[in-house]
């Protein structure tokens, strides 16, 4: 390869797109490092505090797409207080100052401001794609800037963000001449939208493939929108009240029948049961169905819909579907690859909607299943062993038994053997979440068998430090380890400090780790940022909406970094 001119090598590298592979080829030799540097188009930064924008620009001066992730995963569950960090502003400012021709920005769990969005919209002439997932800190004013200024915008994809909805006219800010929209997802906006502006925007967007509406778009508007965009591939219907006798329903049915390219359906936030039948004509083409917000649709209607969806690859649903419903899924959806079953009753009210039987049925009926997230009230070792035998191809296996420490409900044993069977059978397992009553034994199994495991979530599990040590010593590919309410302490934390350099991050909350132990770790490993989130302040408890008498505990979050201590930490974060 050294005899080829750089342009040829670069052309070959163009076919290498995965981040891991590009990282690998950059390590081969100096000349490849240099060629790869200048030709890297997509940069992925899993922890925004592991590196600085300046270092990024120095290494990759020509990238077009940047993915940044901020807060740790447990921030999704309110374990990280407001103001912790993950601010995108310094990144946008640095990129704006440079000559990078940014076209795509994807952010997850970051704090974004209207000023940042405005700066973004004005700084990059060819900006095409903005994807914000679980972000916060901005309002529809920021969206208005993006709409007004990004002439070549293709994607505006807002997934589950906390957006301050000023009910303004951000949709009307797209110029009349603007016709390049491909993706528009504003399902997470709470307020009313300008329906006229929306319809005109959709009507002048022939390339529109993905449209996800919020709950404020009524049925008749939905019918008109679908009629304007029969080429739609991915549709989120927002609110969907049942209007059995109205003209709108007929218009909707007619419009749906024309949407022959429709492959993905979601939304139904306030849907009444009878409405789903309007979609039956297109079900046979659907590959992705997300009914996990449709709390008002009960089992039988869900089942009627799913019976038509023989090509389904991805299904997100609520546990109101029941074991019977999952049996229907198992017998209908032979192409199913990913299943997520979410809980409707979050307070453990005893409604056993899905049990281990549903999980076993799915594992038996769906040979292509590789990713599962399953919330349930009860589980048995026998069921998990059967699931492991039926489905050795799991890449992601996340089981959440709603009651902490709950054992096998038949034998009253811990669920060590069940999860042990999963990790032993599933040789490609990359992500695992465990729950229920678990001793150190399960971690022995995980350390022994889960050789490809990259992310592990542990809650209310284990007996002694040995548990955590089995994992740290055994799982060579571990990148993210997050632990809560488990009896692991300083001995486990400090046993192998160098291990943390091979990982992106470690989270431990409500464990047995002490401040002294963390300080010792910080001293031994200067390449780590060791942060303690200190929440002993009562005022802060109220701010974060804590109810009544909650446990108050401190949290450890450590991560490798090449740029040392961050400067934007709030007072309640101690960086050791």
């Amino acid at each position: 390869m050294n005899y080829f001119p750089d342009e040829v090598i670069e052309h070959v590298f163009d076919f290498v797109t995965s981040h891991k592979d590009r990282n690998s080829i950059s390590l081969v030799c100096k000349s490849w490092f240099k060629i790869e540097r200048y030709s890297r188009q997509n940069v992925f930064i899993g922890n925004c505090y592991s590196i600085s924008p300046e270092r990024l620009l120095r290494r990759f001066p020509c990238f077009k797409s940047l993915t940044l992730k901020g807060k740790p995963h447990f921030a999704d569950f309110n374990l990280v207080p407001h103001g912790w960090g993950g601010f995108v502003q310094p990144w946008i400012e640095a990129l704006a100052r440079s000559r990078v021709g940014l076209e795509e920005l994807r952010l997850k769990r970051m704090v974004v401001t209207d000023e940042g969005l405005e700066l973004l919209s004005r700084s990059f002439v060819n900006f095409k794609s903005l994807v914000l997932v679980s972000c916060e800190g901005f309002s529809t004013d920021g969206l208005a800037s993006i709409a007004s200024n990004c002439r070549h915008l293709r994607d505006l994809d807002l997934q589950e963000n906390e957006i301050d909805d000023h009910r303004g006219q951000w949709l009307s800010c797209f110029p009349e001449t603007y016709t390049s929209l491909v993706t528009l997802n504003f399902a997470c906006l709470e307020g009313e939208t300008n329906l006229v502006a929306l319809e005109r925007l959709v009507a002048r967007s022939p390339n529109l493939r993905s449209l996800k509406l919020n709950r404020a778009v009524p049925l008749d508007a939905l019918a008109r929108l679908m009629a304007c965009a029969p080429q739609i591939v991915d549709l989120g219907v927002g609110s969907y009240e049942d209007e059995q006798d109205s003209e709108s329903c007929l218009k909707l049915q007619a419009a749906i029948r024309k949407c022959t390219s429709l492959r993905s359906l979601s939304g139904f936030l306030e849907a009444a049961p009878h409405c789903l039948s309007a979609f039956h004509p297109v079900c046979h083409n659907l590959t992705s169905l997300n009914l996990s917000y449709a709390a008002e649709i009960h089992g039988s209607h869900l089942i009627k819909l799913i019976e038509h969806c023989k090509k389904l690859q991805r299904l997100w649903i609520l546990d109101s579907i029941g074991d019977k419903g999952l049996e229907v899924v198992a017998s209908t959806c032979k192409e199913l690859q990913e299943l997520r079953v979410f809980p409707t009753d979050l307070h453990g009210g005893g409604n056993t909607a899905v049990t281990e039987d549903g999980l076993v049925a799915i594992s038996a009926g769906c040979p292509k299943l590789h990713s599962i997230l399953y919330f349930c009230q009860q589980m048995t070792n026998a069921a998990l062993i059967t699931v492991a035998r039926n489905c050795p191809n799991f890449i992601r296996f996340r089981l959440c038994i709603l009651e902490p420490h709950k054992p096998d409900h038949v034998t009253s044993q811990p669920l060590d053997e069940g999860f042990g069977a999963i990790v032993q059978a599933c040789k490609n397992l990359k992500r695992l979440s465990v729950s229920g009553l678990l001793t150190d034994q399960v971690f022995l199994y995980i350390g022994m068998f889960a050789t490809q495991l990259e992310m592990l979530s542990i809650a209310f599990a284990g007996d002694t430090d040995k548990g955590m040590l089995y994992v740290l010593n055994g799982c060579k590919k571990m990148r993210k380890l997050e632990i809560r309410d488990s009896p692991f302490g300083d001995a486990a934390l400090l046993a192998d400090v160098n291990k943390y350099e091979t990982m992106r991050s470690l989270w431990m909350s409500s464990c047995e780790v002490t401040l002294g132990g963390c300080k010792r770790l910080a001293r031994k490993a200067p390449w780590l940022n060791v942060e303690i989130i200190n929440e002993n302040d009562n005022n802060r408890m109220e701010e974060n909406g804590y109810e009544g008498r909650q446990k108050v505990d401190n949290k450890l979050y450590l991560y490798r970094t090449v740029v040392g201590t961050r400067v934007d930490a709030p007072p309640f974060v101690w960086i050791l």
């Binding site: 005893g350 464990c511 303690i532």
Partner: protein, 180 residues
């Protein structure tokens, strides 16, 4: 900074508050875990609505966005069912509405809400004469399929028996409104 390590009193533990309690709780947690589980199972079998469990922060691991969107209309009470939604139609209106009867404590709140929703007023209720002073009369369909005047029976009985609401207007209303 090292001196802090030795001062147990001021030591900041990454665990439950109260040092000794932590150890005890953890030990009892694990050694009695089987026993506790059996007891818990027995509880679940005998009680129809289990006691409200203490809320653990961040558990179950469901994104707050999802929690907020599933529970927009629900009350945070274990005794409450999923909300009692009934359709409301008004003669002459182009589409129906839905309301959650469990949101209201009595007839006056319900009627006020209906008045606001459909921009009308019901007039004065009396047991003898029904609703006087308005063309609109609020009625409901009960479990037997009969159309009844709203306000005659105690509120709780009404909520249990009400299948849907209808705001009648005009001559039809006059018949019902002025007593059977």
């Amino acid at each position: 900074m090292d001196e802090f390590v030795n001062l147990k009193a001021t030591e900041l533990r990454l665990g439950l508050p109260g040092t000794n309690n932590v150890c005890e709780e953890r030990v009892s947690c694990n050694s009695n875990s089987n026993k506790r589980a059996l007891q818990a199972d027995a509880e679940n079998e005998t009680e129809t609505s289990p006691p409200r469990k203490a809320q653990i922060v961040g558990w179950p691991p469901v994104r707050s966005y999802r929690k907020n969107n599933i529970h927009t209309k629900k009350n945070e009470s274990d005794l409450e069912s999923q909300g009692i939604y009934v359709k409301v139609s008004m003669d002459g209106a182009p589409y129906l509405r839905k309301i959650d009867l469990s949101c209201y404590k009595g007839y006056s709140e319900l009627l006020k809400a209906l008045e606001m929703m459909f921009k009308f007023s019901v007039g004065e209720y009396s047991e003898r004469d029904g609703y006087k002073g308005s063309d609109f009369v609020p009625t409901y369909e009960d479990k037997d399929g009969d159309w009844m005047l709203i306000g005659d029976v105690p509120w709780e009985m009404f909520v249990c028996n009400c299948k849907r609401l209808r705001i009648m207007k005009g001559s039809e209303a006059k018949c019902l409104g002025s007593g059977v």
